[in-house]
Point group: C2
Chain length 135, copies 2
């Protein structure tokens, strides 16, 4: 697995909304903005909460891979994170996710925990190095 | 083909940076922020400029489909646009794209024109209607 650097963690934690990309089994890309996307202490796992996923969840069930990027006006640089996901619908981590989300607001259904294991990190800043593998 | 509504056009034109999602032939999603993304007058075609694409271009050559969303602090609502693309490397439209980009700054290589024909538009605002087809 791949671990973000401490500098990447700092930028990750400034983000409020992440673009989350998935693809259907036959390769149709999908991208949505998500708010509930949390880097875990091991720096190699990201928890994503499914509140209102539709195509995203269909895609993840058929093709358990996703990508997000970390960029915004308040972010230094830009990087893309790719990973493999597991969909978790019970157990200790699921209960922890539910508790965390319900503490924010009861209007979030907190249906499933999407646990992303980071596999790759790429440079994403506009310029000749865009797209190069960082980790 | 699918045409954006005038209200969608208004929101589209407020956007400065769009998340552009593609997928490799074997379904690995990719997402990057892009600035050069222009809705055309017919409201069913979007011009995307390849300045520094790497995986994005590899993906589009193998699997000519992409998705973007329109959302941001200054945008009313949120919608996702999916489309089929053609990669254009010569001709009148290509020359027009080059002229437009080079007028902005010579630092942009303006390598290729990615011409996206809109196929679908989906609701993308957080809530129970997220993911539903709008157009």
């Amino acid at each position: 697995m791949v671990k973000l650097t401490d500098a990447m963690k700092t930028e990750f934690e400034k983000m409020k909304i992440f673009p989350l990309a998935t693809a259907s089994k036959d390769g149709v890309p999908n991208v949505i903005p998500i708010g509930m996307c949390f880097l875990q202490e091991d720096l190699e796992t990201i928890w994503i909460v499914d509140n209102f996923f539709l195509k995203t969840m269909e895609n993840l069930r058929a093709n358990p891979k996703c990508a997000i990027y970390v960029w915004g006006p308040e972010i230094n640089g830009c990087f893309q994170i790719k990973g493999d996901v597991k969909i978790i619908d019970r157990g200790e981590e699921y209960d922890e996710m539910r508790k965390m989300v319900k503490a924010k607001s009861d209007r979030f259904p907190a249906k499933l925990l999407v646990k992303m294991k980071i596999t790759d990190v790429f440079e994403c800043k506009s310029g000749p190095d865009a797209g190069k593998k960082l980790l």
